[in-house]
Amino acid sequence: MPIDILMPALSPTMEEGTLSKWLKKEGDTVTSGDVIAEIETDKATMEVEAVDEGVIGKLLIEAGTENVKVNTPIAVLLQEGESADAMSAEKPAQPEAPKANADTPAATSDAAGGKAREAKDEPASSADSKVPAAPKVDVAADPDIPEGTEMVSTTVREALRDAMAEEMRRDESVFVMGEEVAEYQGAYKVTQGLLQEFGARRVVDTPITEHGFAGVGVGAAMSGLRPIVEFMTFNFAMQAIDQIINSAAKTLYMSGGQMGAPMVFRGPNGAAARVGAQHSQDYAAWYSSIPGLKVVMPYTAADAKGLLKAAIRDPNPVIFLENEILYGQSFDVPKMDDFVLPIGKARIHKTGKDVTIVSFGIGMTYATKAMAELEKDGIDVELIDLRTLRPMDLPTVIESVKKTGRLVTVEEGYPQNSVGTEIATRVMQQAFDYLDAPILTIAGKDVPMPYAANLEKLALPTVGEVVQAVKTVCYK
């Protein structure tokens, strides 16, 4: 029976990729371990190894084809005795090994291989994918962007990189440090190209020692440099949280204003896909409770760029919470020489009159989808993207609630002491008389993130929960 070789998933969040190159041609004999093709994901170029032995009967996907979905057959492998003629048009009913080729991805740069924290070889489960890969997302006009500005479709990943590159060109004291930021081009490819442009002095690969290198970053900042400390994910920043809070956030106060830590701590935060409890925590609420920090958590690529540039220029320590799933999504980003957004200002994603939804970061993906569904039911949502969690733009929220009288918050983090409960408290204290219904807070469930696909789906908020909450506060 000929074997279908399938497009492998090479990262927890990969849903499609480019088949950039075939290294074997039809008629070639392969044995397990042979590299047969190169696949480019949004993060890296990976080699695909054969798992089975046989002869390449047919290449089904041409080299250079983009957006090849995971699990699509890309070639047919003939077993001993089979000939190309024997290949029937009909495909095997069931793919034999959906991730056969992905089991041992020989990363072009080997740092990812075998490193548990990156979990490169877990296929994304397309069934419960939280967002489609890289769709273009339409966003309401931002008053901070001059009308008529040319917009360029950009991924969040590129926007972040562009922000860093622009600021590094502008200011010699800005540098990036972290694990795999330089030669590997970023574990999530966010720092791609920076080493080539700025060199190893300003793009610094560190050992896997978060506590130590975070402290080194803070020390450098105390002496006046402007470090961007990348954490491969914020989960690992728990090792470094003492330096972030006790050293970076408190020094300005403890020194009576003499010195502080002008720096950015950035990296992906929150759940990616199927990486389990230790790699999936959302730290939005934790950091946003600390005086002395600013905390930014963008959703769109434009906000990612404009706010990261602002964060790098900010004289305070800024926690910049990104999201792995959003990295590949494209949004319009204004083509401007120097696009900087104000930290501490929410963006009204869509105006509406019936109910206010407040969200931020990846929470916005649930909110926007819920908003679209609710529109069908005639409920006009005003959606606010907080963008910054500290200082929090509560006036924008209060103004909206005064208009709509109803509020639902949406986030992925744990429900106790969440950003949503904080908003609810403050709105209750400051706009109680305007509320027509109790505030509902949608958050992740009160459990560590499970691995199993069905449980993970249950642990995260859903669009349905947001829709239901909005209907509840609207008494519908």
């Binding site: 975070a214 080194v216 330096q243 004289p315």
Partner: protein
């Protein structure tokens, strides 16, 4: 540079490493008259300042934690004599001596101890958290070991800027067991950062003696696996400290990377003001005071060599006492910070 058998940053290990209890085992670089007098006066200032701080604590003017440096004065004074302008200093919570040694004013430090507006941090930092941009003093850190990574960051900045400044990070035998210390050692040697790690081994991490907390009690060798040269130094002899400091600083300044200096020293007082120090004998303390006191050693040399008369020493002592009394008066009369300061200096 003066010959020094105690520590040699140029060699892998010093030939004459004084044993732990043999403080006079090495031959130390001799000081000239001016150096002896400076060392004497600087150490005396710290001693008298700390005695006064202890007194003010007892009177309730100083609150919270107050960790005195009495007994360890030679370490910071000797090291400071090896540094030049632009070199950075950072330390842990037993920091009053370091601040005075860098030239920070006694008034500013004492007023911070009493939580007054004229303190270095406007009264908002306290004993463990003081800084001076002007004197390149980067704190004053209350989390054990944190200053080691931060100090490594200061050294990183020096290298990044391409200047020839050296960072000096002080920490104790207790902090020397913290994980981030080794993360920092690794990066400092990997990147050849200009930093002197000064381990002030005063034998006790709070109440736990070195032998009860440390599997390897030779702290000078704690960087061995990274290839960082390390030396034990008689931290009760200011000349030995200065000699070792000179070599270590020169090693750093010439781009060769970090050096570890283990200063064998002793604190006379408890860990903090509230520590009755029941974990060691009175005899142990008394023996150290009478046989190895860093200030007495200099005093005897000054008199033996005829570089100072009893009267001159008394006059110096009075000068120092005047500075300390003035700082204490200021620290008690200076007003507390304005209540508006509660909400300042949180963000710029």
């Amino acid at each position: 540079m003066a010959p020094n058998k105690t520590a040699s940053a140029s060699g892998r290990k010093s030939a004459a490493k004084p044993a732990r209890k043999d403080f006079n085992g090495g031959t130390y670089a001799e000081f000239d008259k001016d150096q002896e007098i400076k060392a004497y006066r600087d150490m005396l200032l710290i001693r008298r300042f700390e005695e006064k701080a202890g007194q003010l604590y007892g009177m309730g003017f100083i609150g919270g934690f107050c960790h005195l440096y009495i007994g360890q004065e030679a370490v910071v004074v000797g090291m400071q004599m090896s540094l030049k302008e632009g070199d950075q200093v950072i330390t842990g919570y037993r920091d009053h001596g370091h601040m005075l040694a860098t030239g920070m004013s006694a008034r500013g430090v004492m007023a911070e101890l009493t939580g007054r507006r004229g303190g270095y941090s406007k009264g908002k930092g306290g004993s463990m958290h003081m800084f001076s941009k002007e004197k390149q003093f980067y704190g004053g850190h209350g989390i054990v070991g944190a200053q080691v990574s931060l100090g490594t960051g200061l050294a990183f900045a020096n290298k990044y800027r391409g200047n020839d400044s050296v960072s000096t990070a002080y920490f104790g035998d207790g902090a020397a067991n913290q994980g981030q210390v080794y993360e920092s050692f690794n990066m400092a040697q990997l990147w050849k950062l200009p930093i002197v790690y000064v381990i002030e081994n005063n034998r006790y991490a709070m109440g736990t003696s070195v032998s009860r907390a440390s599997a390897q009690t030779d702290f000078s060798q704690r960087g061995a696996s990274f290839g960082i040269p390390g030396f034990q130094v008689d931290g009760m002899d200011v000349r030995a400290v200065k000699a070792a400091g000179d070599e270590a600083v020169e090693h750093c300044r010439s781009g060769k990377g970090p050096v570890i200096l283990e200063m064998l020293t002793y604190r006379y007082r408890g860990h903090s003001m509230s520590d009755p120090a029941k974990y060691r004998s009175k005899d142990e303390v008394q023996k150290m005071r009478s046989e190895h006191d860093p200030i007495e050693q200099v005093k005897i040399r000054l008199m033996d060599k005829g570089w100072a008369t009893e009267e001159q020493l008394k006059a110096m002592d009075k000068d120092v006492r005047d500075i300390v009394s003035d700082s204490a008066d200021f620290a008690q009369s200076d007003p507390e910070p304005d209540t508006s300061e509660l909400y300042t200096d949180i963000l710029l």
